[in-house]
Amino acid sequence: MSEQPSFTLDGRRIPFRDGQTVMAAALAAGVYIPHLCFNPEFAPHGSCRVCLVKVNGRVQAACTTPAAAGQLVQSEIEELREIRRGILQMLFVEGNHVCPACEKSGACQLQAVAYYVGMLAPHYTHFYPRRSVDASHPEAVIDFNRCILCELCVRASREVDGKNIFAVRGRGINARLVVNTPSGKLGATDFSVGDKAAQVCPTGAILLKHHGYEIPIGQRLYDRKPINVVGDVAQLSESRGGRRHD
């Protein structure tokens, strides 16, 4: 039997299957690489750039780099932590993240990744964009202030739900999430809480109504243990504070 091919990640041997990315192989081997737009259930997107690693000395996105035998991959080095922190800080100043007033706080992947990379403050100058909140749907609310344009809801609605409810529109800093109806309102769509798109948002941008602040502070998903130990909120069962099915 031929030995499974492998690469090295921060000194650890990581086996991989043909076609796997560095990210997929690392996660399968139980090694965490921070990420936001990556979700193992979807094709890689490569847009958030939080998963940057050094592959044979070159900075690349782990979620889109095919694994190759003998690669030398570095992830937990200060140089990369600094870049990742910078990218997280950009996401925080680009939107309006008022964690103390956000129901997702404590179970938010954006927040948890920011803790993981050691972000203490947003550092850059805030954009304070004027964005809206859409509460037109009976079961869900979208707060566009918290959207980080990871397009997971876009992909989930298109690929899994077959509904194509969300899209990212516009260019550059004007790029924004929209709801695909003439009114732009979620209430005018057939979005439902059972949709995959209702469960993948890494932030508090898409929230289900009639729930909120159910878990006391100190016991929430990421309150006690970091995301590399706990896992992504979208991948966790309800009993662990992850997705909620009604």
């Binding site: 847009s47 750039r49 870049i83 950009m90």
Partner: protein
């Protein structure tokens, strides 16, 4: 506005003319807009219906390209080219003058809906600016008398076809020709060569020639063709990248205007070599004025058997070329974004690998080359690889077309063997007092007089062709600030460090440029620039900080003379931030202002 039934009819006709193909979506939207002056929501829905695609797909495209408008636009749409070279020639003053004469504000549509005036990224007329576009057609050599006449033409609603021809005259300004521009080329010679000697022999010549991509990245062209030729699949494509969006470059425009046969011949040759039957030219929207002539050239080539079925009488040699127009998106020059755009989508760069040579247009193997690369390939097929390789340096064979603009007496196109020094180029174009050069455009590098002995070639200073001269009278930072605006405007918004980073960089540069910055801001720019260089998804964001970083190294004094002596300054104008409250309360007492004295106290840590 037309009745809704005639609207639907018009759109159906446009869609039918494009064969009902969704890959033509961008082309269709351009035509619909030509008809309605903008894209009202109902037109988008109609296009979606006629094409059988979802309305959101159509909206995504309509909102991505800067020449497509989802808001009402004037019957005359005038966009001033906003490259630094246009500004050097006085474009800002002219822009204000025109708006004043038309009695309107910049970046608006006049109340009567007749005319809109705004700015756009470099239109590639740097050697004959100040330039602008009117309804997509290039206007050159603007001055006040010309604008006075334009004001009259607009106010009298004179159709563009009746405007003076000389307003639209685009000259080629070829100042120095070498093997590419200088020697006569007999149409069909390269195709005869490939028929006679076979694709392998041509590829051998290409290898021998050492030809590298002239779009800037310098990938070996033979390797690209060989890889695509070897890629599995029967259907393959040839794409000519005529997006030429890099500010300061216009050599592809001259090739398409004066040497289109040579370029088409290179594409057809490539088709034969890699086994493709279809080619596309992706022509930037700013070069709309070339479209009819290019179509006529294609028609003539079909008529004389150099294109289409049975080329040169060989039934096995089929190849045709289609022209796709861009619509104002620099990122679509990046080859994978270009392919997305060719497929009728918005231009977001793909994840690579896979590369276009195996997964390109419609996921089929595709060669994407620059205009100049195809022109050179056609010559190499005729004259041989050794002939081409006899010019240039060890790693950069042949010649390079440079687009010279800015502070020089003879702006225009200069063809040099690779390896020429910057100093030689400056002498030839009559730039006597150069302070610095922006090489290869804002995405390239800014060099100072200390480096004028460097050589233009891949071993030293690589370039796609842009060469903008700044003389001693210029403030380098005017250029740098202009470039940061360019990148904010052109970022596609897909990835975080470019989408957000370009805006942060622009704001930092503006802060220092306007005299509100400190040394801490310079350090901040360096840090941000370093993140962008390694973290961005595509070349646009990776190169966007280059002008800032280079000028910090090369022109430190330009930055430093703007700095405050303080260690730290607020990110915004504190006193101006009180203006709204002063207005609302009507207060004018001393407490309603923050004086410079107040602010100084906290500036020293």
């Amino acid at each position: 506005m037309a009745e809704s039934s005639t609207l639907a009819q018009t759109i159906r006709e446009i869609v039918q003319r494009h064969g009902g193909m969704s890959t033509r979506l961008l082309q269709i939207l351009r035509e619909v807009q030509d008809h309605f002056t903008w894209l009202p929501p109902e037109t988008l829905d109609q296009v979606a219906e006629a094409l059988g695609v979802s309305p959101d797909k159509v909206r995504n495209v309509a909102e991505f390209y800067s020449f497509l408008y989802t808001e009402p636009r004037g019957f005359y749409d005038i966009l001033f080219s906003d490259n630094i070279t246009d500004r050097m020639l006085g474009s800002r003053e002219l822009l204000h003058y025109l708006c004043e004469r038309l009695d309107m504000e910049i970046n608006t549509t006049r109340a009567d809906g007749l005319v809109s005036v705004g700015t756009t990224s470099c239109t590639g007329m740097c050697d004959q600016g100040p330039a602008a576009l009117v309804n997509g057609y290039a206007l050159t050599r603007l001055d006040k008398p010309r604008l006075d006449r334009i004001v009259d033409l607009v106010n009298s609603r004179t159709p563009l076809t009746e405007w003076p021809r000389e307003f639209f005259e685009v000259t080629s300004n070829i100042r120095r020709a070498d093997i590419l521009l200088g020697r006569h080329f007999a149409d069909g010679a390269a195709l005869r060569a490939v028929l006679k000697r076979g694709p392998e022999a041509i590829l051998e010549e290409m290898v021998k020639s050492g030809l590298r991509g002239q779009g800037g990245a310098g990938f070996k062209s033979a390797a690209k063709w060989i890889s695509c030729r070897g890629a599995p699949g029967d259907v393959k494509y040839v794409v000519c990248n005529a997006d030429e969006g890099e500010p300061g470059t216009f050599k592809d425009r001259v090739l398409m205007q004066d040497f289109a046969d040579l370029v088409f011949e290179g594409m057809t040759l490539c088709g034969r070599v890699i086994g493709a039957r279809q080619g596309f030219v992706y022509l930037r929207g700013e070069y709309r004025y070339l479209l009819e002539a290019l179509k006529a050239t294609l028609l003539r080539r079909r008529e004389v058997g150099l294109l289409g079925e049975a080329i040169l009488g060989d039934p096995g040699f089929q190849f045709d070329i289609d022209i796709h127009m861009g619509a104002g998106a620099y990122v679509c020059g990046e080859e994978s974004a270009l392919i997305e755009s060719l497929e009728g989508k918005h231009g977001v760069p793909r994840i690579r690998p896979p590369f276009p040579t195996t997964h390109g247009y419609l996921n089929k193997p595709t060669v994407v080359n620059n205009v100049e690369t195809f022109a050179a390939a056609a010559k190499i097929a005729v004259e041989g690889g050794a002939w081409f390789a006899s010019r240039g340096t060890a790693e950069s064979k042949g010649t390079k077309l440079l687009s010279l603009s800015g502070d020089c007496e003879r702006p225009g196109i200069y063809e040099y063997p690779f390896g020429v020094t910057v100093r030689r180029v400056l002498e030839d174009c009559g730039a006597r007092d150069a302070q610095g050069i922006q090489m290869a455009g804002p995405a390239g590098h800014m060099i100072s007089a200390r480096q004028f002995d460097r050589r233009i070639c891949f071993e030293d200073l690589a370039t796609g062709g842009s060469f903008m001269v700044f003389d001693q009278s210029r403030d380098i930072l005017d250029g740098i600030r202009n470039f940061t605006h360019f990148f904010v405007h052109e970022s596609c918004g897909f990835c975080t460090p470019c989408r957000v980073g370009t805006s942060l960089m622009r704001d930092l540069v503006t802060k220092v440029h306007t005299g509100h910055g400190t040394r801490a801001d310079l350090e901040e720019m360096r840090k941000l620039g370093r993140i962008m260089q390694v973290a961005c998804h595509c070349g646009l964001g990776q190169t966007a900080p280059n002008p800032v970083l280079d000028s910090l190294d090369q022109f430190p004094e330009s930055w430093e003379r703007r700095l405050r002596s303080t260690a730290y300054e607020p990110a915004f104008d504190l006193n101006a931030a009180l203006e709204e409250a002063r207005r609302l309360t009507g207060r004018d007492d001393p407490g309603a202002y923050l004086s410079g004295q107040d602010l100084l106290i906290g500036a020293m840590p």
